[in-house]
């Protein structure tokens, strides 16, 4: 366990999540249990800028983004995911986290967004979150 104490050491994760408390948990879990550094943003131009630098190792992306806009209209995680993939100079893993948990949502959302992984809320185990993020970065 001690060798695994910081499985995400040196990694940078961008958190895009409209609920403040959920974003706060993601950051605390990834930083404390994973040892990585996190950025939180809902501002689409800023998000694209971050991704374009190539310094982001993974984006943890919510599907319902109530506060995000692009070109004068609201934008959700599915559409944003495709934009992020296009913008990134290298292969960028995206982990979708969503409270949309009706049957068929998983397949539909993964397929339409092109994301690499999917987490169904409630996501509450830091270790599970860190492991999911680690494996996606490793396989990127």
């Amino acid at each position: 366990m001690s060798s695994q104490a910081h499985p995400l050491q040196g990694k940078r994760v961008l958190i895009v999540e409209d609920n403040d408390l959920v974003a706060k948990f993601f950051r605390m879990a990834l930083e404390r249990a994973g040892g990585c550094s996190c950025l939180i943003s809902e501002d689409v131009p800023a998000i694209l800028e971050h991704v374009a630098t190539g310094e982001i190792d993974l984006v943890l992306l919510d599907v319902s983004l109530n506060n995000s806009e692009w070109e004068g209209r609201s934008i959700g995680g599915v559409e944003l995911c495709r934009m992020l993939k296009d913008k990134s100079p290298r292969r960028l893993p995206v982990l979708l986290a969503t409270a949309h948990a009706m049957s068929g949502d998983r397949e539909r959302l993964l397929e339409s967004s092109g994301a690499d992984g999917y987490l169904e809320k409630p996501v509450y185990d830091s270790a599970v979150l860190v492991e999911k993020v680690r494996s996606l970065i490793e396989n990127a």
């Binding site: 609920n19 706060k24 605390m28 409270a99 996501v123 270790a127």
Partner: protein, 428 residues
């Protein structure tokens, strides 16, 4: 006369075919024309005899629901039918005319089998009278044969008309069923959407409750202060969850028609006095002024349910406070606007609601201008519940732009308990 139902057109040459089958000859046509004037006087009795048969059939009761007037109308129609037998023109138009009979009978639930049996009575009556009129053997034979043919033609046309009317009736029923099925599918889709939204909205506070609790249990917090902070988040998420569950129960009960209201004459002052202090705490924590403009007014009694009245008031006031960062929230009451109602207005200096969203905010799960609501959380059901409650109490609810073009005014009306006495007192 128009064809009764274009969906089942009359087969061409159908009448000719039937005339051939019955050997209806030009000679028969001439005989029937000659017979007409002699039989005319028997037509009223024929009609009486026909309708005297109907009450023997317990299933045909609807024929007489229109009373005497309807029976008179039916009998005169039947006499016209009888006259038609002898007019000597048996073409498509004749058939069309007969085809309407089935539609009329299906409409009054007069079954084909009852009509066939009554037609038997008509047939024997007409033959009896024909034999009276023409006792001589030679004419009697030819005349009864021609009369028999035309009665058979009509009986067959009538059966076909029943078939057409029944098909048309089934067609209509089918369309109605299809429509009902479509409405059911729509309702089901709305229910699924509601369920998906509820599932989504319950998971969000649950995420915080479970994740922060687990974080404390896993020892991931760096200090007791941080643990305390995280537990406060758990607590507020739990409160949100409770609000959501309560609102869900309310809206479900309302939509199922299971929410019983205890409507009585109420003094609005008492309701205001018990509600405003609750909101005052929220307002004070945001440094907002809460102004009660009704303080110097004598408010008339309104007809409402006390608990639900308070719920609506609390809801609109909390919303006003929630969406206002600076300034004030103000409540006022206007009597007889509209006539016989007391109108409450809650005005704020907050973010306001764009005109095109005014109706939508009263829908379930529609949260207005989320961009400005950062960090603001609610069930998204408050206004939907308020609208339904106010309407159940015979009032109305709405949103308007604030007086200075900023902020918004949420208003609702409740009926006055004694509108008339009030009016008289005023004019006295």
């Amino acid at each position: 006369m128009a064809s009764p139902d274009p969906s089942t057109p009359l087969p061409e040459s159908f009448v000719d075919e039937m005339k051939r089958y019955l050997h209806l000859l030009p000679a028969d046509t001439l005989i029937l024309r000659e017979l007409g004037p002699r039989m005319e006087k028997y037509l009223p009795e024929m009609a009486d005899r026909f309708y005297a048969q109907i009450p023997h059939h317990p299933g045909a009761n609807r024929v007489f629901t229109g009373g005497e007037a309807q029976v008179r109308r039916l009998k005169s129609t039947l006499q016209a039918w009888g006259r038609g037998l002898f007019n000597g023109v048996y073409d498509e138009r004749y058939a069309e005319d007969r085809f309407l009979i089935g539609f009329r009978h299906v409409r009054i639930s007069l079954d084909q089998k009852y009509v066939i049996s009554a037609m038997g009575v008509v047939r024997s009556f007409m033959m009896e009278k024909l034999f009276d009129e023409f006792p001589a053997r030679e004419k009697r034979l030819a005349f009864s044969q021609a009369l028999g043919k035309i009665l058979d033609l009509d009986l067959n046309l009538m059966c076909d008309s029943y078939f057409r009317a029944t098909m048309a009736h089934l067609h209509t029923l089918n369309q109605e069923l299809e429509q009902a099925g479509g409405q059911l599918a729509d309702a089901n889709a709305i229910k699924d959407e509601f369920l998906a939204q509820v599932s989504h909205d319950l998971r969000t506070p649950l995420n915080s409750i479970l994740s922060f609790t687990k974080m404390v249990l896993d020892g991931l917090c760096t200090s007791p202060q941080e643990e305390k902070e995280v537990l406060r988040d758990v607590f507020s998420s739990g409160q949100l969850l409770l609000r959501l569950v309560n609102d869900l129960l309310d809206i479900s009960a309302i939509e199922a028609g299971k929410l019983a209201l205890d409507v009585e004459a109420l003094d609005p002052r008492a309701v205001l006095d018990s509600t405003l202090p609750l909101v005052a705490v929220q307002a004070a924590s945001k440094n907002l002024q809460l102004i009660d403009e009704t303080l110097n007014q004598t408010l008339p009694s309104v007809r409402s349910d006390e608990i639900r009245f308070r719920q609506v008031l609390l809801n609109l006031l909390s919303n006003a406070v929630k969406f206002t960062a600076h300034g004030c929230v103000c409540i006022r009451a206007v009597e007889n606007q509209p006539e016989g109602h007391l109108r409450f207005e809650i005005e704020d200096t907050g973010i306001g609601v764009p005109t095109e969203k005014r109706d939508a905010v009263f829908e379930k799960f529609v949260r207005h201008d989320p961009k400005a609501l950062h960090g603001v959380t609610g069930s998204g059901l408050g206004l939907a519940i308020a609208k339904r409650l106010v309407e159940m109490m015979s009032g109305r609810i709405g949103l308007e732009t604030g007086a200075d073009g900023k902020g918004s005014i949420a208003w609702f009306t409740l009926p006055l308990a004694e509108p008339r006495q009030k009016q008289e007192a005023k004019s006295a």
